[in-house]
Amino acid sequence: MISLRHLTKTYGRGHAAVTVLDHLDFEVPTGRIAAVVGPSGAGKSTLAQCINLLERPTSGAVVVNGEELSGLPEKRLREARRRIGTVFQSSSLLSRRTAAENIALPLEYLGVTPGEARARVAELLDRVGLSDKAGHYPFQLSGGQAQRVGIARALALRPSILLADEATSGLDPDTTRSVVGLIRQLRNDLDLTVVFITHEMDTVRQVADTVARLDHGRIVEQGDLVELLTSHDSLLGRSLQPRRGHAGPEAGTRTWYVTYDSTDVPGDWIQRFTGDLGAVVHLLGASVETVHGVNTGSATLGIGADDDARVRGALARYGLSGTPDGGGGSQSHQLLTAAAVLEDVA
């Protein structure tokens, strides 16, 4: 369990002082994966560095598993840090050490005997699926493999907390998926509390239990991932939705943007909705996925009906909500707004 209370971090002094974290409150329950998103420069990395005390907070409390860390002297801090595993952005491996030697680093610092270290490293390599790469140097590893080594190293001292700052940045989507899968697996097996910092919304949907949005040094919005995804009046929820282009409407239809607004939208809703409405319905675009067992997503429909209230009502029956786009002008306006929201959060 991680609990940050009134956490403030100011860099510099006097006129040059910049307050990056501003009385921030944040809590991650044991065994949960909390994603933290926010625009570049919002203070995400600073937040991570305050949790493992690589940076000392200016004021406020950092409580990890009941222990207040921010006031500890450096030596005690070093011990506390051993209970927090940190996964860095890619290319954080020591270049002159093999995968196994990199994983052994925290054990070496702790003074574990070489025999014990070897056994633990073998176990960790196995856990991250890289037993055959023990003797490989970082330059011989793919980005995904290097991240797995980084994760194994973070877990070397059996921490209860895992911090990941942009751990999947720069990885291709398939590799990201497998690294994220590994993190969820490890969380399940080891009951880890995970703070996962990223700017990739696709990754958030794959990894997170809860999502928090950091902006201007504070957590401005947070919630359960599924709840956010099914509540489209939330800025965070909307920015979590993938937005792709869609086909243009045909003559005689209007474009509607339809979102999954509940956790039990039936799979055959288009057919049923079309039947209920008794009007022509074109599918122009859709993005639907299952997140933690719940169908979420959105669809763009071309609907040949004029009565907005009736369309809304028919949609609501299946846990959907819809907004019509007047003409092409306002439609592109909506896309622009959506893009702006995305940019803001990414």
């Binding site: 493992n52 690589l54 070093r78 011990e79 840090r81 051993r82 927090i84 940190t86 860095f88 952005q89 290319s91 954080s92 020591l94 270049s95 002159r96 680093l105 925290p106 070496e108 610092y109 702790l110 140097y137 330059f139 011989q140 190293r153 973070a154 070397a156 001292l157």
Partner: protein, 234 residues
């Protein structure tokens, strides 16, 4: 020039080894002693300099500025001047101001200043994220300096060391002029002052071959300590 046009009575070829080998031994001794001193003092000093700099593990900007200044002074004086300027200090340490012992003192001072910068520069080229990784892994400052800073910088330090050894061979030749002996002394007394072309040529060949060998060994070591270079050649 005139020496080339009007050759004098040169040392016979047969006598060259007797003249050059002891001198070469003296050069190697001088450079060897100096390099040992330089490594022992310069390496920790370089690591210290890097870590008292802003952003280092023991941030002390004032101390960094002072150290950096002293080193810059040591680096900026031409070796001949430095050697002459510190004669009293040399005599205080060694009791003499001629010979190998006397040469080792100014050479070591110049060498330490040189090597400290090399180490500082090499450490600077290690990504700062490595230090963060090591701190997060629970390393003490000493452990971090050893495993995340110095160890990562080893190939760069060896590359710098190669340059340094070559510079020290050159300094030893300059020190030869204060009677420190060595190849440089022979080159100056026979080749320069007596226009002995044979000796001059021989010393040049010896120096060129030595420097080339040092460079080859240095390059090999750099390759050997860089996994990527070592393994990709095969």
């Amino acid at each position: 020039m005139s020496a080339l046009i009007f050759p004098r009575a040169d040392v016979p070829l047969n006598d060259l080894p007797a003249l050059l080998l002891p001198a070469y031994g003296e050069t190697l001794t001088m450079v060897g002693i100096v390099m040992a001193v330089v490594l022992v003092i310069g390496a920790p000093l370089g690591v210290l300099l890097h870590n008292v700099a802003p952003g280092g593990l023991y941030e002390r900007p004032a101390l960094h500025a002072v150290l950096s200044w002293i080193i810059s002074i040591g680096r900026s004086l031409p070796f001949l001047i430095l050697m002459a300027a510190i004669v009293p200090f040399t005599r205080f340490i060694t009791g003499t101001n001629i010979g190998i012992a006397a040469a080792v003192v100014p050479m070591s001072l110049a060498g330490i200043a040189f090597f400290t910068r090399i180490v500082e520069n090499s450490l600077r080229s290690v990504p700062p994220s490595m230090v963060q990784v090591a701190r997060a892994a629970g390393g003490s400052n000493l452990q971090i300096m050893r495993t995340a800073q110095f160890s990562e910088a080893v190939p760069a330090v060896i590359g710098g060391l190669t340059i340094q050894v070559i510079a020290m061979i050159e300094y030893s030749a300059i020190a030869g002029t204060i009677g420190a002996g060595g190849i440089g002394y022979v080159a100056v007394t026979y080749g320069y002052q007596r226009f002995d072309n044979t000796v001059m040529l021989a010393t040049i060949v010896i120096l060129v071959v030595t420097v080339a060998l040092v460079q080859i060994v240095g390059d090999r070591l750099v390759r050997f300590t860089t996994p990527q270079k070592r393994l990709q050649r095969a």
